[in-house]
Every structure is written in structure tokens, then in C-alpha cells.
């Protein structure tokens, strides 16, 4: 896999190549500082912030020094002037599913982080309004986690005894 070879280092974090796209893998400690530097580098738009639950797919290729955890927060940043994209993937362990909020860098991540909290239960420290956004307030569980079952509505057939 080309994914594993850390070709370069950007602001102290290993960079890999995935399908022609650059991916940075900072640690949770480096996360906000690295994003601050990327913002200063011209990545003025945070196009996307989401998460992935790797519970049932643990053996994914990662660069040396990055150990796989259950959750991964993924950001896609866009630089307008250089017309460039970069992806940031941060490992978030299940035992302590928290990560710093980047609301202060890109206010537009407010809803994205709420969505990730709603769907995965990852908490964002310093987020101004960390509440559920899509699911009802009193919902149990976080639907996009892999151990959350897909619901089924029982199908009632005509004439069947129920």
C-alpha cells in the first residue's frame, strides 16, 4: 500500500499520500497547533469535518508512529489561493473520546462538530454548544457507531397473524 510510507513531515506530523491526495496524521496533542499552522499556510476553508468508527476494520495502514485507535476525526481543508486540498486524520481512542474543538479557527466547524458528537459521541473540548443536532435531544446512543444496530421496522404482511 502506498498509504503507509510517510513521504514527508509537515509541521511535525507525518504526511502520506492517498489516491493522489495529501493526508496529515497529527497526534491529538499536535492537533490544534498543526491546524493553526495550516490555517496560516492558507488553508482558509474547512470544507468538511467528520469521523469514522474503525471498530470492525482495525487493520488499516497508517504511517509509523501513529497507532490506530477506534475513532478517527477527518478534516478536509481547502486553500483558495493555491487551489489545494489537504486532509487531516486524527486518532481518537475509545476510552477517552474527546478532542479539542477547532471552532476558534474555523467557526464553520460548529455544526460539523455537533454532528460528529451526535453520530459518534466524540466530545469536542471548547465547543460553544455541544448538543445533538440531527437526532432528538433524548436519543440514546450514537447511530453511526459500528456497534449501533441498524433499526428494522417489522413488515406486516397481508393476512399474516401478528
Amino acid at each position: 500500500m502506498t498509504d503507509v510510507q510517510a513521504a514527508e513531515v509537515l509541521h511535525g506530523a507525518p504526511v502520506t499520500e492517498s489516491r493522489g491526495q495529501r493526508v496529515v496524521h497529527p497526534s491529538r496533542a499536535q492537533y490544534v497547533a498543526l491546524l493553526k499552522k495550516l490555517l496560516d499556510d492558507g488553508y482558509v476553508m474547512c470544507s468538511d469535518l467528520t469521523a469514522v468508527d474503525y471498530l470492525t476494520h482495525p487493520g488499516r495502514p497508517l504511517p509509523d508512529g501513529v497507532s490506530a485507535e477506534r475513532f478517527e476525526v477527518v478534516l478536509n481543508l481547502t486553500a483558495i489561493t493555491t487551489r489545494d486540498r489537504i486532509r487531516v486524520r486524527v486518532q481518537v481512542p475509545e476510552s477517552d473520546a474527546t478532542i479539542a474543538s477547532v471552532f476558534d479557527l474555523w467557526p464553520g466547524t460548529e455544526a460539523f462538530e455537533r454532528e460528529v458528537f451526535d453520530m459518534f459521541g466524540i466530545r469536542f473540548d471548547g465547543h460553544p454548544d455541544l448538543t445533538r443536532i440531527l437526532m432528538p435531544e433524548d436519543w440514546d446512543g450514537h447511530p453511526l457507531r459500528k456497534d449501533y444496530e441498524v433499526g428494522r421496522i417489522p413488515v406486516q404482511f397481508k393476512g399474516a397473524h401478528s
Binding site: R19, G20, M45, S47, R60, R85, P128, M135, E137
Partner: protein, 444 residues
């Protein structure tokens, strides 16, 4: 009744906008519970008042979720002082059906039926971005036949036209130019009729699929497209007479819902909202996909960032799309409409009758689906509403391990509080309309 009690009465819990007296100056600046971005001085001023005596003067009301001008089931909590909107918080999720979770249960071949229902006004763009992401994972993105690529462009541009025509219709209706609603729907219907002829359906086509398209263009398609192109310019001139040059229309939109370029970028907005502030950012030109680098078109940019700019941008983007469609008609190559790669393409119908292997292959592709190599990919394209992105993680199986759609409306709707603050309630309707959100995509 105080505003606090007011909130409590309508409360569903923490998703609500919080009362002003519950929040400190620093939090006000960061918009706790309200998504309201204030200047530091303004926030400090508000924060100094311990229990805001003005609070009795303000009223928190719900606009929506059932409101004709909220384009679906969008609910806005507005804090009003008389007619002035002090704060606003959009509350979403009423249309949430867990489409990203459903996407994990569907194969890559079935996935198109799922994503096409997100932004139901530009279904072909949803399918396109999903197909492009899948093809990138498969490593076949450069092997798509030329005809398929140009067909995708044709459909994508026609879809942009139909979506913007619907925007003109609803924008007219929201502002009070009700006759515009009829005209917009009428013209959009012509485009949809073409889609029906090509794909079999007016909406939710599932026509663009990983590897190419579901079928070739039907005979006589060129005349149908030309008929649309010949019909539209005169109609667009009519819109100019009816709306663009009309003083009431201008009065109603100019200077309403203003947003600056810095704010728009910080909020992550894209599409006409970002372009209305003067930022010439169009993925078709700036990160060209398909063959957009080979066609000639202009990126329409506004200068004031107000609702009128957003209206004018969309109106003129229809003209630009027509320009692109004409070039596509000139250059549409002949050839195959889908990739002939046994991995992703089912064998032709005739082969199934004569070959056992073809039958098995056909059966396998439609029951099990094709396997997609392990990896992750993000693809973003320009939908009528802005950047629509698709992030897919594959674990090597026939279903995506995780599929996330970066929905432009979901992001753009966050700019609403910003555009509305300090405006009038009547303008709130104009602002929602100018953002042109599709709630199916916001909630997914």
C-alpha cells in the same frame, strides 16, 4: 412573561437558543447556544448587563418547522425586539433519516439510489460525486470513456439549470412575486421532461453510476436539448423584466442578508453565497473535474454579498450553463457510455443468454456487488448549491465502510444567523430563500 419562561415553554432541551441572561460576554462572543457572531465590543456591552433589563422587551419565537418559507422542515428560533431579529438559531434534524448509515448497508452499485435522494433538486450531481469517489477508490477514474464524461457534464449542467430555475421560482414566491413561481416551475419542467426521457425518472434518477452511466442518450436527445436552449433565453429576458429591473424587487433584496468574504470563508460556505461576496471560487474552474477545463465559461461573482447578488448570480449561472451545454453539444463524442471493465460493468443483456459465465458474472455483480480496494478518498464537486463532497472509506468489501456526504446546504445554513442579525422578520424570509437550502440534504 419573561423570555426565560418563554424559552422553557417551547423548550425541547439543550438544542434550543439560550436566554440572553444565561450567557456571559465571552460566550456571547463565541455564540453559545445561539450561533450569533458579535463583535467584541458588542458582546462586552451585552455581557455587562447582569440580568438584561431588555429581556422583557424581546420575544423568542419559532419560525417553522411548518412554515411555507422555510423550504421544507427548517425551524428557526428568533429572538425579536419588535420587528428586528436580534438572534437566530436554526434547528435542524426533522428530516433526518440516517442516510449515511443506510449507505453503509448498500453496495457501491446500490449507493446511487441512496445519495440521489439527499439533495433532491440536483440528484445528478449527488450521483456524480458518489460515482467519482468510487471510481477513484477503484483506480479507474482516468479510464471512463469520453462519451460518458461528456454525458455526465451535459446532465450535470442541465441539472444546475433546473435547480436554479426552481430557486428563481421559490425566491419569487417568498418575496411576493408569485407569478414568478409559475414561470420558474414551468421552465424547470421542460428540463425535467428531458431527464425523464433520458433516465426514465424526473427526479432521483440513479443514472450516473460508478463506471459510467446507466444507458446511452436516447435518439433525438440533441433536438430536445436544443429546444430547451432555444426556449430559455427569451424566458430569462422576461425574468429580467419581471424581477431584476423592477424597483420593488430590488428594494426587497438589495442590502438584505449581507455577508462579507471573510465571514463566508470562515463559515465554510460555498457556491453562490461565497461568490456573492466577491470570492471567485468555483470548483468547475478552480479544481476542474470531468472536462470543465476544456469548455469556456465565466464564474459569476457578486460584489455586495447581499440577497440580490445571490439572486443575480444564480440567474446568470443559468446563462453560463447554457453556454457550456452548447459547447457540449458541439463536442459530444461517440463511443461507449460506460467503462468496459469486467470488474464493475455487468455483461450486456445479449451475452447472458449465450454464456454461463456472463450469467454468473451478472448475478454476482447485482447480488454481491463489486469489491472496492481498501482506502479512503474525498472528492468535491460544484453542485448548484456549492461544494458537494463525498468521503468514502472502503475496507475492501462490496459496501462502503463509511460514507459521508459534505452537504453544501448543511454548511450554508449556518450562515443564516449571521445574515439575519439586525434585520427585519420580513427580510428573514428573503434571507432563507437566498441561501436556497434543501432540507433533505441538510438532515440527510
Amino acid at each position: 412573561m419573561t423570555a426565560v419562561e418563554n424559552v422553557r415553554q417551547t423548550s425541547e432541551g439543550g438544542q434550543e437558543m439560550r436566554s440572553r441572561s444565561d450567557i456571559g460576554a465571552k460566550e456571547l462572543l463565541r455564540e453559545v447556544g445561539s450561533v450569533l457572531r458579535m463583535s467584541e465590543a458588542e458582546a462586552a456591552k451585552l455581557g455587562q448587563i447582569p440580568a438584561d433589563p431588555d429581556e422583557d422587551q424581546t420575544m423568542i419565537i419559532n419560525m417553522g418547522p411548518q412554515h411555507p418559507s422555510t423550504h421544507g422542515v427548517l425551524r428557526l428560533m428568533l429572538e425579536l425586539q419588535g420587528e428586528t431579529v436580534l438572534r437566530c438559531k436554526p434547528i435542524i434534524g426533522y428530516l433526518h433519516t440516517g442516510m449515511e448509515k443506510t449507505g453503509e448497508e448498500l453496495t457501491f452499485l446500490q449507493g446511487g439510489t441512496n445519495v440521489t435522494r439527499m439533495d433532491y433538486l440536483s440528484p445528478l450531481n449527488n450521483e456524480l460525486v458518489f460515482s467519482m469517489a468510487t471510481e477513484k477508490l477503484l483506480g479507474i477514474e482516468n479510464d471512463i470513456p469520453e462519451r460518458a464524461v461528456w454525458m455526465r457534464m451535459l446532465l450535470s449542467e442541465l441539472n444546475r439549470m433546473s435547480s436554479h430555475l426552481l430557486f428563481l421560482a421559490t425566491n419569487g414566491m417568498d418575496i411576493g412575486a408569485v407569478s414568478m413561481m409559475l414561470y420558474g416551475w414551468r421552465e424547470r419542467e421542460e428540463v425535467l421532461r428531458f431527464f425523464q426521457k433520458v433516465t426514465g425518472l424526473r427526479m432521483n434518477h440513479n443514472f450516473i453510476r460508478p463506471g459510467g452511466l446507466a444507458a446511452d442518450l436516447p435518439p433525438g436527445w440533441r433536438d430536445d436539448v436544443l429546444a430547451i436552449l432555444d426556449m430559455l433565453p427569451a424566458r430569462l429576458e422576461e425574468y429580467d423584466v419581471l424581477m431584476t429591473n423592477q424597483p420593488i424587487w430590488r428594494e426587497r433584496l438589495q442590502g438584505v442578508g449581507v455577508i462579507t468574504a471573510d465571514e463566508a470563508l470562515a463559515l465554510g460556505t460555498s457556491g453562490p453565497i461565497l461568490r456573492s461576496t466577491g470570492v471567485a471560487w468555483d470548483l468547475r474552474r478552480d479544481q476542474p473535474y470531468l472536462r470543465y477545463d476544456e469548455v469556456d465559461f465565466d464564474v459569476i461573482v457578486g460584489s455586495y454579498g447581499d440577497a440580490f447578488d445571490r439572486y443575480a448570480i444564480r440567474l446568470n449561472e443559468i446563462r453560463e450553463s447554457m453556454k457550456i451545454v452548447r459547447q457540449i453539444l458541439d463536442r459530444m463524442p461517440s463511443g461507449d457510455y460506460r467503462i468496459q471493465n469486467k470488474k464493475v460493468t455487468p455483461p450486456p443483456r445479449a451475452r447472458i443468454d449465450e454464456s454461463m459465465e456472463a450469467l454468473i458474472h451478472h448475478f454476482k455483480i447485482f447480488t454481491e456487488g463489486f469489491k472496492v480496494p481498501e482506502g479512503e478518498v474525498y472528492v468535491g464537486i460544484e453542485s448548484p448549491r456549492g461544494e458537494i463532497g463525498c468521503y468514502i472509506v472502503s475496507d475492501g468489501g462490496p459496501k462502503p465502510y463509511r460514507i459521508h456526504m459534505r452537504a453544501p446546504s448543511f454548511v450554508n445554513i449556518q450562515a443564516l444567523p449571521h445574515m439575519m442579525r439586525g434585520g427585519l422578520v420580513a427580510d428573514a424570509v428573503a434571507v432563507i430563500s437566498s441561501v436556497d437550502p434543501v432540507l433533505g440534504e441538510v438532515d440527510r
